[in-house]
Amino acid sequence: MNRPDLSVELAGIRLRNPVMTASGTFGYGREFADYLDLSAIGAFITKGLSLRPKAGNPTPRIVETTGGMLNAIGLQNVGIDAFVAEKLPFLRTVDTPAIVNLYGNTLDEYGELAERLDRLPEVAGIEVNISCPNVKQGGIVFGTDPAAAREVVDLVRKSTIKPLIVKLSPNVTDVVVMARACADAGADALSLINTLTGMAIDLDRRRPVLANVTGGLSGPAIKPVALRMVWQVAKAVQLPIIGIGGIMTGRDALEFMLAGATAVQVGTANFLDPSAAGRIAREMEQYLTEHGVDDVKELIGALRA
């Protein structure tokens, strides 16, 4: 048998395979270069970028929970100027698409960031984070209110011709409503899910473990919620979906594709195994080979439910 075709196209970006690395879990790509050949994965998403440098939250910022972890990094990042000066040169050296995840504290910041990124040829696409639960001003409001989401996406859409991916929050009553709002406003694809808001408590000290009190839950614990949301949105909205949430193995990734995802992102798994994303792509290929599937695209939305 021939090797199965793992390539997919996502919002105009051609991926050699459906495996990307999730924003905030893979730095700016370079951090994992010792462990993972970037050309083994489909694309990578850089850490959430803002207009100005952002300090983020005090520490502790992370804590392990059962089957997952909470993080309250608070979107610490170098800001767009330093990004262009320090991080962009590396992106030029790899032939794997780099997608920039961005967020703004105000509507205008979203627009300005998108405009500036629009001019950078190293940037294959933009993933708009409207969902980060850690930053009061930005995340919460845009990510849980359909009208606000529509406004943000609309503005970003006008500010760039690059492929526009919108990343959704799971902390909503009806994710389909949010997905529709983003679709209507011109998103090319949807990423879901971001982290579920959670909390951990240090009993002996009678304090929250995280300095920020609450944080975002990621890892295998949230996979069932993520799969459900991908499936719900895939049925309702005609946009390609990137499935995210607790993906640890090639089988996990393929489950997300059955539920309707065109591609996936690997987050927390990068921490346990810095070569996870490459391994997952290999495991997907192996599964397809063993099961006589020529083309991974056959699995997209192929769930019989």
């Binding site: 730095g27 952002k54 300090a55 520490t59 392990e64 059962t66 295998p220 927390t268 921490f271 195994d273």
Partner: protein, 271 residues
């Protein structure tokens, strides 16, 4: 480097403290003291994240189980504090671990002729042993070791065997002087001069005290910090500490995993 490692031995050297030797690829021998390893305890999801440990020792030994005849190893010294370390304590020879090593930036030995002052609190002694082994090659090394009780003072014999002059202090006076190791160190340094460097590892309050004393006495001081870590490679920004130039608008965060764990004490903000 990411590699599979086999446990060679795992000894309880003091109640609740274990010294584990494991195989490593030859390249790991190039690690510098102060660098650390991230251990994946099993391929289950419990515990989920890797656990960081300083390198206690490394070397090679003759073996029958490789072709080349010599096998590299590394050692960690760990204290059982929670789930992951409890699991590790039950590992025995032949069990497997998945390791990332060596990670981070280690100690900078500096001028070989100067006097080296090591200050370790409790399990903070772990990386100082590897450091001492290197430092004794070129000069005088003193160790100030502190802990809650005599059970928390580890491997002093090993340090002495290297020729290190050791001073011990315990909170309860069950071994060495009664009191804080920083006080003992301060008394010892006070009023003397000469080319000296402090290398410290231990709980945060101890390191803060050491940094303060060092600054007052104008002795260069390197500290090895701890932080909750997820990735160990500078990607997640979970392990940061404020650098000396930090303000909210111009953040100067350093990753303990990548920019550290060893920092010049003047590089950090000690609030």
């Amino acid at each position: 480097m990411q590699f599979k490692s086999m446990v060679l031995s795992n000894l309880e050297v003091s109640p609740g403290y274990f010294r584990m030797r494991m195989t490593a690829p030859p390249a790991v021998i190039g690690a510098t003291p102060g660098q650390f390893v991230m251990v994946r305890i099993n391929d289950s999801i419990d515990p989920l994240l890797r656990r960081p440990f300083g390198i206690f020792d490394l070397g090679t030994f003759d073996t029958e189980f490789t072709d080349c005849g010599r096998q590299s190893y590394l050692e960690i010294l760990f204290r059982v504090v929670g789930k992951g370390t409890a699991m590790l304590s039950r590992f025995h020879r032949g069990d497997h671990l998945d390791i990332l090593a060596p990670l981070g930036k280690g100690f900078i030995p500096g001028d070989p002729s100067g006097e080296k002052i090591l200050v370790g609190g409790g399990i903070g002694l772990a990386p100082l042993y590897f450091l001492a082994k290197e430092l004794v090659k070129s000069g005088k090394v003193r160790l100030f070791a502190g802990g809650r009780s005599k059970e928390d003072i580890l491997c002093i014999t090993e340090f002495e065997r290297l020729g290190v002059e050791t001073y011990v202090a315990t909170d309860d006076g069950t071994l060495g002087e009664n009191g804080l190791v920083t006080e003992v160190m301060e008394r010892r340094l006070e009023g003397r001069s000469g080319d000296r460097t402090i290398f410290a590892c231990g709980p945060h309050p101890m390191l803060r005290a050491v940094a303060t004393i060092a600054q007052r006495l104008q002795v260069p001081c390197q500290v090895s910090m701890e932080a909750y870590m997820a990735c160990g490679v500078g990607a997640c920004l979970g392990c940061v500490m404020k650098g000396c130039n930090h303000t909210e608008s111009t953040p100067d965060y350093r990753c303990v995993c990548k920019d550290g764990p060893v920092f010049d004490s003047l590089e950090l903000q000690w609030d």
